[in-house]
């Protein structure tokens, strides 16, 4: 273990020629170098985050309390008028309902299928990399492309999925016209793109489960299914939390897939798949061109995401303190 790690083939650093008279200055510079460099190296992230992350979020609050036109710019202060306007719109509530519906239809099956698929991939497979790449393939396809392909597959009249349903004797489903069906179709696009990605995350976590736990379970006479529910799933808890958190943040802001689900981008004739971010876009860049109202929607959505995050956190924390699996290995990071 104590092998030396310093055997570089070529010395990468040239020695500086020391000039005796300037040692003092050089040492002083050297000290500043040591002191300031760490801050200098991390500064790009913090500067950028302040400028394009934090400042816009805070400024959104300011914009949301003003009349503000896309082209005309800042108008007069209106207090909470933009918020009351937005909260009185039927389309806002429709959008909120649709967003949560699509979010649930995508994240819950996505996590369940990903865990099951990871369990399948965890076996001793031939051509392991091939299968892993196979599940990941959809990840490199842009959501815009996914949505165009699936909106054709889910066509109400001449879609392939309805044609297949008819073939096995079932009725066509109105994938665009009906509320829940359209949500299901859009959730399918999200799942198509992300199941493989999450599968690999779960697969990695499964392989980190200490194998002696399984050996002990086998000695206790636990069957394969019992091992899965009593060891694998509990040990995956930190990973599940991670995936839930990331899919919440992304899922509640969904835009690309529903926007591209038909050629008008309005969320359907009855706004049956209009989402909150689409509504934000429509207020700010659509016919109204009202940045004030768009900013109000952004703030409301921000608060919703924070609230959902807190709920997520408290639920998952309670679960993990109630029944944390005991093992020799730290399950958390």
């Amino acid at each position: 273990m104590a092998t030396s790690t310093t055997n570089l083939d070529s010395p990468p650093v040239r020695k500086t020629d020391r000039d005796p008279r300037r040692v003092g200055l050089r040492q002083k510079l050297g000290r500043w170098d040591v002191k300031l460099s760490p801050y200098l190296y991390i500064s790009p992230f913090f500067i950028l985050f302040a400028v394009v992350g934090l400042f816009p979020l805070a400024y959104t609050a300011y914009v949301s309390m003003h009349q503000w036109h896309l082209i005309g710019g800042e108008g007069k202060f209106v207090g909470l008028d933009n918020f009351t306007f937005v909260l009185q719109q039927a389309n806002f509530w429709r959008a909120l309902r649709n967003t949560f519906s699509i979010f649930l239809l995508s994240s819950v099956p996505q996590i369940i299928i990903a865990i099951l698929l990871a369990a399948v991939l965890d076996a001793n497979l031939r051509a392991r990399s091939f299968w892993r790449m196979g599940v990941l393939l959809p990840y490199v396809v842009a959501p815009v492309a996914v949505s165009l392909i699936f909106s054709k597959l889910f066509g109400d009249q001449s879609g392939m999925i309805n044609a297949l349903l008819n073939k096995i004797g079932l009725d066509s489903i109105r994938w665009h016209a009906d509320v829940l069906s359209s949500h299901l179709a859009i959730a399918t696009m999200v799942n198509f793109r992300w199941i493989g990605y999450n599968t690999l995350i779960f697969l990695a976590a499964m392989q980190a489960v200490p194998r002696d736990l399984y050996e002990a379970a086998i000695l206790d006479g636990a069957a394969r299914l019992r091992q899965f529910t009593s060891i694998t799933v509990p040990m995956l808890r930190p990973t599940i939390i991670f995936v839930v958190v990331t899919s919440t943040i992304g899922g509640l802001q969904i835009f690309d897939e529903p926007r591209m689900y038909d050629q008008f981008g309005q969320g359907g004739s009855d706004r049956q798949w209009l989402t909150v971010t689409m509504y934000l876009y429509e207020l700010g860049w659509g016919s109204q061109k009202s940045f004030g109202r768009a900013a109000a929607v952004a703030w409301i959505l921000f608060l919703i995401i924070v609230a959902v995050g807190i709920i997520n956190f408290s639920i998952t924390r309670r679960i993990s303190t109630d029944s944390a699996p005991k093992s020799g290995r730290k399950a958390k990071r």
């Binding site: 570089l8 170098d33 760490p38 001793n124 393939l137 842009a142 940045f291």
Partner: protein, 306 residues
């Protein structure tokens, strides 16, 4: 499968990396999976593979067909028709400025990937290996920002961009993405394990400045993680739609924006739209054939650490 041996990893990337690699290799060779996969497993995997590949093939099938045939047969035949290149030609001749969009996408993805890798490695080097006041809290802050839905700041961001005169300019898409919290966290994690202090000290003793130490010692050690980060950033940049759609518009589009335009302009012409979709997807699918293994490894390593 030409992974370097564990001792080689130890020499080039440090003890931590060697240990991590040994752990991975141990699992990869199937410790505990005394159960060989049965045929049912392979049947499931083949079905999954078909489900993830067929939609792409479906796009190609429609792209090689024509509007009449598509309307008549909702279930396309398994083999493509012969009109793919005609449809491609029509995409290239259409109003969406395909080549401009393609070039824009390449520029944005390449510049973003390069800058994310550079700045993330710098910050990762600092967080992982340099001592300075406030290091712990600052790193926690970086990680916490990953949970902030910054997309919701688009209204002010758009105002800022229009003040700068960047609406319709690629800089408006490139600049906000030049460094990411994920990248910083990723490189910090990797360099913590892969870069031994002895190397840094040796360089310092030889009189190297901080930036020279970074360039000659940290950067080479970071290469495996840096290339994965570049891949992820490239994919993310290539596929992103919302912000480019808002800030670039149809005059100077990236590929997803151009494809969107294709749909809203020629929505009756499905073979044309699918030809555009195919053209936009093919570059990354080709890249995936060569670099997919690395993407897989990257996701799995990130999961264990993260």
């Amino acid at each position: 499968m030409s992974a370097p041996s564990i001792p080689v990893i130890r020499q080039t990337a440090g003890r931590g990396a060697a240990r991590a690699a040994a752990r991975r290799r141990h699992h990869a060779t199937g410790a505990g999976s005394d159960r060989r996969a049965g045929w049912i497993t392979y049947v499931i995997l083949v079905v999954v593979l078909l489900l993830s590949a067929y939609p792409l093939y479906f796009a190609f099938l429609l792209a090689s067909s024509n509007a009449g045939a598509i309307a008549q047969t909702p279930i396309p035949s398994l083999l493509p028709h012969g009109e793919f290149f005609d449809n491609v030609r029509r995409v290239l001749a259409s109003d969406i400025q395909f080549w401009k969009a393609f070039r824009n996408s390449v520029i944005v993805a390449v510049v973003t990937s390069a800058s994310v890798v550079l700045f993330s490695t710098l910050a990762g080097f600092s967080f992982a290996k340099l001592r300075f006041r406030g290091r712990g809290p600052l790193l926690i802050f970086v990680i916490a920002t990953m949970a902030v839905p910054t997309q919701l700041g688009i209204v002010p961001l758009f105002i800022v961009m229009s003040k700068l005169g960047w609406i319709g300019q690629l800089t408006a898409v490139i600049v906000p993405g030049t460094v990411t919290a994920f990248g910083v966290f990723w490189m910090t994690q990797y360099l913590e394990a892969a870069l031994p202090y002895e190397l840094i000290e040796a360089a310092r003793v030889d009189g190297a400045s901080m930036i020279q130490t970074f360039y000659h010692v940290a950067l080479p050690a970071a290469r495996p993680a840096a290339s994965m980060l570049a891949l992820f950033t490239f994919v993310g940049s290539w596929t992103t739609f919302f912000w480019p759609f808002i800030v670039l518009g149809s005059t100077n589009p990236t590929l997803p924006v151009a494809v969107q335009l294709l749909q809203s302009t020629y929505f009756k012409d499905m073979s044309l739209i699918m030809a555009g979709v195919t053209l936009s997807v093919v570059p990354l699918v080709i890249a995936f054939v060569f670099a997919g293994r690395q993407l897989v490894a990257g996701i799995m390593q990130g999961a264990v650490k993260g």
